[in-house]
């Protein structure tokens, strides 16, 4: 990111933290958590610890970091190196990202960039660059309202698994829009907190149906009221419309009879693959199984978009691209040179698509596009153009 853009994005972040840092809650047992942050243009600083939320908020004022993170794990001494911290327990966390859903809209808004010749186009990443035949190709993903609706559906599926199968009480579950392309779910205060990495792999595999066996799942005695995967699969079979292949029978009993007595193993396997792709939850296993991760803090800004990681009190009615804008306002506009940007929907309005054009955009839209790496600020805010580039830090100190 060029200097002007970096200063403008940092100014936006500072404005947000100046007005809103009071909203950032202290995580439970704050002194046992590891904190970390990304300064603008710098490298991740980890292994920090705060005794109270006040000293943490002071850091936000002082630094206005690009990203702020906190561990879901508790440690005896969070400031030490990882192997010396002494892990106590960790909340269970889940990350659902639009990119993992492979929705058809991806090819309309995603962009690929050839690192060899610099060619940039909308669409899915090709095997080789059509221009130079190089194969060092980067993907730049974008999340549209359709993508976020898809991740919301996945989140609802996850909630069903957590409550029905894992017996987690709704009051222990918190849901957040990640501030980019999906949702984060955290489960605190349950017996799962003591699970190690391998135990969490089992939870992850359960949700994603990784390793599920046809012969263990399907049974002639399965009924829709059964718990777990078996009941979920029975309800799926029951609710299929009539004459849906591979079944010929129209009733649940006939279908189960077919499945148990007439399907070959390979036919049953094929049906299993097809059905679990719809019933499983597309979580990121890396996030759930990693117990030494630091995770973006709620009510802080996502450096990839400038949007807030926001808690969803009512997931059904939550509108992520409107309710997570950090500093709303249509009047403060800035000129941005947009390189390549798909049609985006922010704050209730549509912008773009843009290709190599100069646009005057509301501050939050400009920050979004620049943070995605799709453009740069042309004109800095008046106070930035007059003063030194260290100004934001000096202002914070006052």
């Amino acid at each position: 990111m060029d200097e002007t853009s970096s200063l403008m994005v940092k100014r936006y972040f500072k404005e947000y933290y100046f007005r809103n840092s009071g909203k950032i809650e202290a995580p439970s047992e704050i002194e046992k958590r590891e904190f970390g942050y990304f300064p603008f243009g710098g490298q991740m600083i980890r292994h920090l610890s705060f005794k109270d939320i006040g000293s943490f908020r002071a850091l936000l004022f002082r630094e206005s970091p690009a990203g702020v993170y906190c561990s879901n794990s508790l440690y005896l001494d969070p400031t030490l190196e990882m192997h010396k911290k002494q892990w106590i327990r960790a909340e269970m966390i889940f990350d659902i990202d639009a990119d993992a859903l492979h929705l058809p809209c991806k090819k309309e808004h995603d962009i690929w960039l050839c690192k060899q010749c610099g060619k940039k186009e909308f669409g899915l990443r090709p095997e080789t660059c059509p221009n130079c035949k190089g194969n060092r190709i980067l993907e730049m993903t974008w999340a549209c309202p359709n993508c976020l609706e898809g991740t919301k559906k996945e989140t609802f599926k996850l909630l069903d698994f957590l409550e029905s199968d894992f017996g987690v009480s709704g009051s222990n579950i918190r849901i957040f829009f990640s501030g980019n392309a999906g949702y984060h779910v955290s489960v605190a205060g349950s017996s799962f907190e003591s699970l190690d990495q391998r135990g969490r792999s089992e939870i992850s595999d359960y949700l994603t149906a990784q390793g599920i066996l046809t012969e263990m799942l399907f049974s002639p005695r399965m009924t829709p009221s059964d718990p777990g995967w078996r009941g979920r699969m029975a309800r799926y079979i029951r609710d299929l419309p009539e004459r849906t292949p591979p079944f010929e029978g129209g009733t649940y009993d006939l279908r189960i009879h077919e499945l148990a007595n007439e399907f070959t193993k390979s036919k049953a396997d094929k049906f299993l693959t097809q059905s679990v792709s719809q019933l499983s939850v597309k979580i990121d296993p890396m996030v759930t199984t990693d117990i030494h991760r630091i995770f973006r803090m709620p009510e802080t800004l996502n450096n990839k978009t400038g949007l807030v990681k926001r808690e969803c009190k009512d997931l059904g009615s939550f509108v992520p691209l409107a309710e997570s804008i950090a500093v709303p306002g249509e009047n403060e506009k800035y000129q941005v040179m947009v390189d390549l940007c798909p049609k985006i929907h922010l704050g209730g309005n549509y912008y773009g698509p843009y290709k190599s054009e100069m646009k005057e955009l509301p501050y939050y839209v400009a920050v979004y596009i620049v943070s995605k790496g799709a453009g740069k600020f042309l004109t800095p805010a008046p106070e930035l153009s007059k003063m030194s580039k260290n100004l934001p830090q000096q202002a914070a100190a006052k």
């Binding site: 190196e81 777990g228 296993p285």
Partner: protein, 371 residues
């Protein structure tokens, strides 16, 4: 619940069985006397059975001898000073307990052993078509993670309300390792008094009978054409300049270090990766090798972990029943081919129609009718 001597003869590892022996006032010096000849003989037999057959037989008809011979056999094993015999014996005793618990008709005894010995609160219900015991998920996964077969995976169990539905035989299998560990701990903690001469003879006999421990090799010798398919896939993706997911990179680095490659050899494979940065890659490989950071040398991830992270490219024959890429065989053994079930027809050219029908029937009878 009060356990009777019938129960203690079966579950000799329980603290109550130890209390029973103490009430009998048995001391080490007594063991040389004729009165305890049967106890000593049974203790010897327990250990010999463990060495020769990895299983201790059922002699619960003679309840007292069965209860009292257990601590004596622990003493014999401890006197050999052979750690690998301690492990072997503990496992054989654990298997014996497992057999009794599986046959146990009184579900209350099962529940009590789980509650008192393992702090697991089971729920029991015999009326529905589902397995009769329910175990909290965290208690289940903590124990089942040691099993390699996919049927133990949580996803292949019936799970509801935070509990896993488990049939009695599976429930009991889950705790074998804990019983074994308990016996190992008891052996470690045992303060050894000088054993009588008659017992010393038995100890020498047991030492002679015990085979030497297996040795392990820290570095594998594997040529590139025998790398497992997951490692080959990671190398192929890197060569094509495609993005290799985190776990693929981790696997590749740990595996290649295991087969004796150097950090520089491994870093040299990465330049075509779209996000390659020499210093970062080098730091990461050094970290994995235990040269940086916490100085922990990371081991090669298991097949199960690779499946979790969608980086398993199983060869149906050569990967049959391996649990880690380091076990990937360099050649196909006839046994592996037989049990993999792959290419059965191909191996029996001109197979008759009857054989084909059999295979077809087998293919159709894949559900478990009693489940």
């Amino acid at each position: 619940m009060q356990f009777g001597t019938d129960d203690l003869a079966k579950y000799t590892f329980l603290p109550e069985a130890g209390d029973y022996v103490r009430t009998q006032g048995l001391s080490v010096s007594d063991l040389a006397s004729k009165d305890y000849r049967k106890v000593v003989e049974r203790a010897r037999e327990r250990v010999v059975e463990a060495i020769q057959g990895a299983k201790v037989s059922d002699k619960t008809r003679e309840k007292e001898i069965e209860i009292m011979s257990f601590p004596v056999s622990l003493m014999l094993v401890k006197s050999t000073k052979l750690d690998h015999l301690a492990n072997r014996y503990a496992l054989a005793e654990a298997v014996r307990v497992e057999i009794f618990l599986t046959r146990e008709r009184n579900s209350k005894i099962v529940e009590d052993i789980f509650r008192d010995f393992l702090c697991i609160r089971l729920e029991h219900q015999d009326t529905s078509s589902l397995p009769e015991f329910r175990v909290p998920i965290a208690d289940y996964t903590r124990r089942a993670e040691g099993f390699h077969k996919a049927e133990w995976k949580l996803v292949n169990r019936i799970v509801g309300g935070g509990r896993v539905y488990v049939a009695q035989h599976d429930l009991v299998r889950l705790i074998r390792e804990e019983i074994r560990a308990t016996i190992v701990t008891r052996l470690k903690d045992l303060k050894l008094a000088k054993v009588p001469e008659s017992l010393e003879k038995i100890v020498q006999e047991l030492i002679a009978l015990t085979p030497p421990p297996r040795t392990s090799f820290s570095t594998l010798k594997v040529s590139p054409e025998n790398y497992p398919p997951c490692v080959v896939e990671a190398l192929k993706l890197l060569e094509k300049g495609e993005n290799v997911p985190h776990y693929g990179r981790f696997l590749m680095a740990t595996y290649l270090l295991k087969v004796g490659k150097t950090v520089d050899d491994i870093v040299a494979l990465f330049p075509k990766a779209p996000d390659f940065k020499q210093n970062i890659t080098k730091y990461q490989v050094e970290h994995i090798a235990g040269l940086k950071g916490g100085h922990t040398k990371y081991s090669v991830p298991s097949c199960r972990t690779l499946q979790t992270h969608s980086f398993c490219f199983k060869d149906p024959i050569k990967c049959y029943e391996i649990t880690s890429p380091v076990q990937y065989p360099s050649r196909i053994t006839p046994l592996r081919e037989k049990f993999s079930g792959k290419d059965r027809k191909a191996r029996t050219p001109g197979s008759s129609k009857e054989q084909e029908n059999k295979s077809d029937r087998r293919n159709k009878q894949w559900t478990k009718p009693l489940r």
